[in-house]
C-alpha cells in the first residue's frame, strides 16, 4: 500500500470521526454549562421547584413547568399521530394497490418536508382560530393547537416506518390467516400488527422523540408562559420555546440566565437520548426476525 492510499484512508477516517466529535461536543458543552449552573442553583430546586422564572426579579429555577409543557404538547401530538399513522400504515400495507401506494407515499413525504416554521404559522393563524369556535375559553396561545399540528407533522414518520415493518411480514402468514377464514381486517389486527410490533414501537418512539424536540410550532403557537398545568387551553411554555425565547433576547453571555438554556437543553437531550437508544436497541434486537 503506497503513501497516497494511506493518506486518503486517514482523511476518510477523520470524516467519520467528525460524528464522534459532534456527539462528544454536544455532551461536553451541555455538561460544562449545566455543572456551572448547578454551582449556583441547587439540583433539588431544579427538579422540584414548581416555578420557572429565571428572567424575572423573583427567580425560580424549577424545570417541572417546562417539562409538563413539553410532555403535554407531545402527548396531544401522539394522540393524533398514532391512530392516524398506524391506520395509514395498515391501509397502505394491506389494502392499497401498488399503484395507490406509489401515489400516497410521495405525498406523505411532502408532508414531512414542510418546514416546521410553516406548520407553526398554520397552527397560529388557522387551527387556533378554528378551535376557538369549538372550545369556549380557549386562549390565543395554548397547548392543543400546536399539539394537533405537531401530530399531523409526525404522522409521516410513524406511518412510513410502521408500514415498512408491516410490509416486511412474509406473505405466508397472511395466507395462513386467510385460509382460516379471517377477513383482511382481522388479519391486519391479529396477525400483521403483532408480527410487526417491534417496528411499530420503534416508529412511535421516534415520533415521540421528534415531538419532544420540536421547536418552531410550539414557539409560535403555545405561548411563553411556563406554568405547571395539564390544561391544554391555556398558554404554556416548552423547553425548546424557552431556549428560543432566551436566544432572541439580550441575555449577557456567562450570566446565570444564559446557563439556564444549557440546563434546559441537557434535560431535553437526556429525554431524546434515552428514547433514541431504546428504539435503536429494539431495531437491532428484533431485526431480521423472518429472514
Amino acid at each position: 500500500m503506497n503513501i497516497k492510499e494511506r493518506i486518503i484512508e486517514a482523511i476518510l477516517f477523520l470524516c467519520s470521526a467528525v460524528c464522534i466529535l459532534t456527539t462528544f461536543g454536544i455532551i461536553t458543552v451541555l455538561l460544562i454549562q449545566t455543572v456551572q449552573f448547578f454551582s449556583e442553583v441547587p439540583i433539588k430546586d431544579f427538579l422540584t421547584d414548581t416555578q420557572w422564572t429565571p428572567l424575572f426579579a423573583d427567580k425560580h429555577f424549577g424545570i417541572l413547568p417546562l417539562l409538563t409543557g413539553t410532555l403535554l404538547t407531545t402527548a396531544i401530538a401522539l394522540i393524533i399521530a398514532i391512530p392516524l399513522g398506524l391506520s395509514i400504515a395498515i391501509y397502505l400495507s394491506e389494502y392499497a394497490s401498488k399503484n395507490l401506494r406509489g401515489y400516497i407515499k410521495p405525498m406523505l413525504e411532502v408532508l414531512a418536508s414542510v418546514p416546521t416554521v410553516v406548520y407553526g404559522f398554520f397552527a397560529l393563524t388557522v387551527v387556533t382560530p378554528l378551535l376557538q369556535h369549538i372550545i369556549p375559553g380557549l386562549a390565543g396561545f395554548n397547548a392543543i393547537s400546536p399539539g394537533i399540528v405537531m401530530g399531523i407533522m409526525i404522522v409521516p414518520f410513524v406511518s412510513s416506518l410502521s408500514e415498512d415493518a408491516m410490509y416486511a411480514v412474509p406473505n405466508s402468514m397472511r395466507e395462513a390467516s386467510f385460509a382460516l377464514g379471517a377477513s383482511k381486517f382481522q388479519t391486519a389486527i391479529k396477525v400483521i400488527v403483532p408480527a410487526a410490533s417491534s417496528g411499530i414501537l420503534v416508529s412511535v418512539i421516534l415520533g415521540f422523540s421528534r415531538a419532544v424536540g420540536e421547536t418552531m410550532i410550539v414557539a409560535l403557537a403555545a405561548g411563553q408562559q411556563p406554568r405547571l398545568t395539564l390544561d391544554p387551553r391555556v398558554p404554556i411554555e416548552t423547553i425548546t420555546t424557552y431556549i428560543v425565547q432566551v436566544s432572541m433576547g439580550d441575555v449577557p453571555r456567562a450570566s446565570l440566565e444564559y446557563k439556564t438554556i444549557f440546563s434546559a437543553g441537557l434535560t431535553l437531550f437526556v429525554i431524546t437520548f434515552i428514547l433514541n437508544n431504546i428504539s435503536y436497541f429494539i431495531r437491532k434486537r428484533f431485526r431480521a426476525q423472518y429472514e
Binding site: 484512508e9 477516517f13 418546514p115 422523540s209
Partner: protein, 285 residues
C-alpha cells in the same frame, strides 16, 4: 346477522376510516397551501424580493432573508458534502466490521435523533464563542452542516450498498488500487443515490429555524451579507419574526415569505425524487 356479515361490515368500516386517515394529512396540506396562497400571493412582487426589512409592513421585503438563505445553503453544502460522503465511504468501503464501526453506527443513529435546537447550543458554544467566529454565516452553516451530516452519511451508505461487488472486482482485476476503484467505479455508480440524499439534506437545512436562532442569526438585518463572517438572517427566521407580530399586515408578509420558502423546498424535493427515479431506472446490474 351472522358472523360473516359482521366481519364484512367491520372490514369495510376500517377501510373507510383508513381512507379518511390517509386523506387527513392531504386535506391539511391542501388547506395550508390554499390559505397561505390566499393570504400571501398578492403580496409577492419584484419589490418584495428587492426590499430590505422594515418596521412598516407594506414596505418590508425579503432581500436580506433570501440572500442569507442562499449563503447558508452554499456554505453548508461545502462543509457537509465532502465530510458526509467521506464518512459514508469510510464506513462502507474501508472500515472493518468491529467495535469502532458499530460505535460509529450507534453514534450516527443517535445524532440523527438529537433535536435541532441542541445543535444550536453546540454551535453557540463551539463556533460562536470558543472559535470566535461570531454570530456569522460561518457559525450558522457549520452548525447546520453537523445537523445534516447523519442524513448525508446514511444516504451515501445506502447508495454505495447497491453497487455490486463484481464492479469492484473487475476494477481490481485491471490493477486499480483501492482508492482508484472507489473514485472511478464506486462513487460514479452510486452518484444518483448520493445526490438525492444531499439535496434532501440541504432542503432540510434551509427550512431549519431553531438552531440558527440559538446561534444568533438576527431578525433584523439591514444589509445583504458580503462575506461568510457577516451577520445574517434567513427566510424561516424572517417568517418566524413576522408571524409572531400582532399586526395583520405582517401575517400577510409571513404568508408571502412562506410561499417563497415552500417553493424552494418543493423544487428541491422534486429534484430529489426525479433523480432517485431516474437513477433506479437506469441502473441495471
Amino acid at each position: 346477522m351472522n358472523n360473516e356479515s359482521i366481519k364484512t361490515i367491520k372490514d369495510n368500516a376500517f377501510k373507510g376510516w383508513a381512507i379518511f386517515a390517509t386523506s387527513v394529512g392531504m386535506i391539511m396540506l391542501a388547506i395550508l397551501l390554499i390559505r397561505i396562497g390566499m393570504d400571501g400571493l398578492h403580496r409577492i412582487s419584484l419589490d418584495f424580493f428587492t426590499s430590505l426589512p422594515s418596521r412598516r409592513f407594506a414596505q418590508a421585503g425579503i432581500l436580506t432573508a433570501w440572500t442569507g438563505t442562499l449563503w447558508i445553503m452554499v456554505t453548508t453544502a461545502i462543509f457537509a458534502i465532502p465530510i458526509g460522503v467521506g464518512a459514508g465511504l469510510y464506513l462502507e468501503e474501508y472500515s472493518k466490521k468491529g467495535k469502532w464501526s458499530s460505535f460509529l453506527e450507534i453514534n450516527i443513529s443517535n445524532l440523527a435523533g438529537v433535536p435541532s435546537i441542541i445543535y444550536g447550543l453546540l454551535g453557540l458554544e463551539v463556533f460562536v464563542r470558543y472559535l470566535h467566529l461570531g454570530e456569522s454565516i460561518l457559525s450558522g452553516s457549520l452548525t447546520l452542516a453537523l445537523l445534516i451530516l447523519p442524513i448525508v452519511i446514511v444516504s451515501t451508505r445506502e447508495a454505495i450498498k447497491t453497487v455490486p461487488n463484481t464492479l469492484r472486482e473487475a476494477s481490481y482485476a485491471l490493477g486499480a488500487s483501492k482508492w482508484q476503484t472507489v473514485w472511478w467505479q464506486v462513487l460514479p455508480a452510486a452518484s444518483g443515490g448520493i445526490m438525492t440524499g444531499i439535496i434532501l439534506a440541504l432542503s432540510r437545512a434551509i427550512g431549519e429555524t431553531a438552531p440558527l436562532i440559538v446561534v444568533g442569526a438576527l431578525t433584523y438585518v439591514p444589509f445583504v451579507p458580503k462575506t461568510v463572517l457577516s451577520s445574517f438572517t434567513v427566510l424561516p427566521i424572517q417568517i418566524y419574526n413576522w408571524a409572531s407580530r400582532p399586526e395583520a399586515g405582517f401575517a400577510v408578509n409571513a404568508a408571502a415569505a412562506i410561499i417563497v420558502l415552500m417553493l424552494i423546498t418543493f423544487i428541491m424535493n422534486g429534484m430529489a425524487v426525479y433523480l432517485r427515479n431516474r437513477w433506479r431506472k437506469n441502473v441495471r446490474w
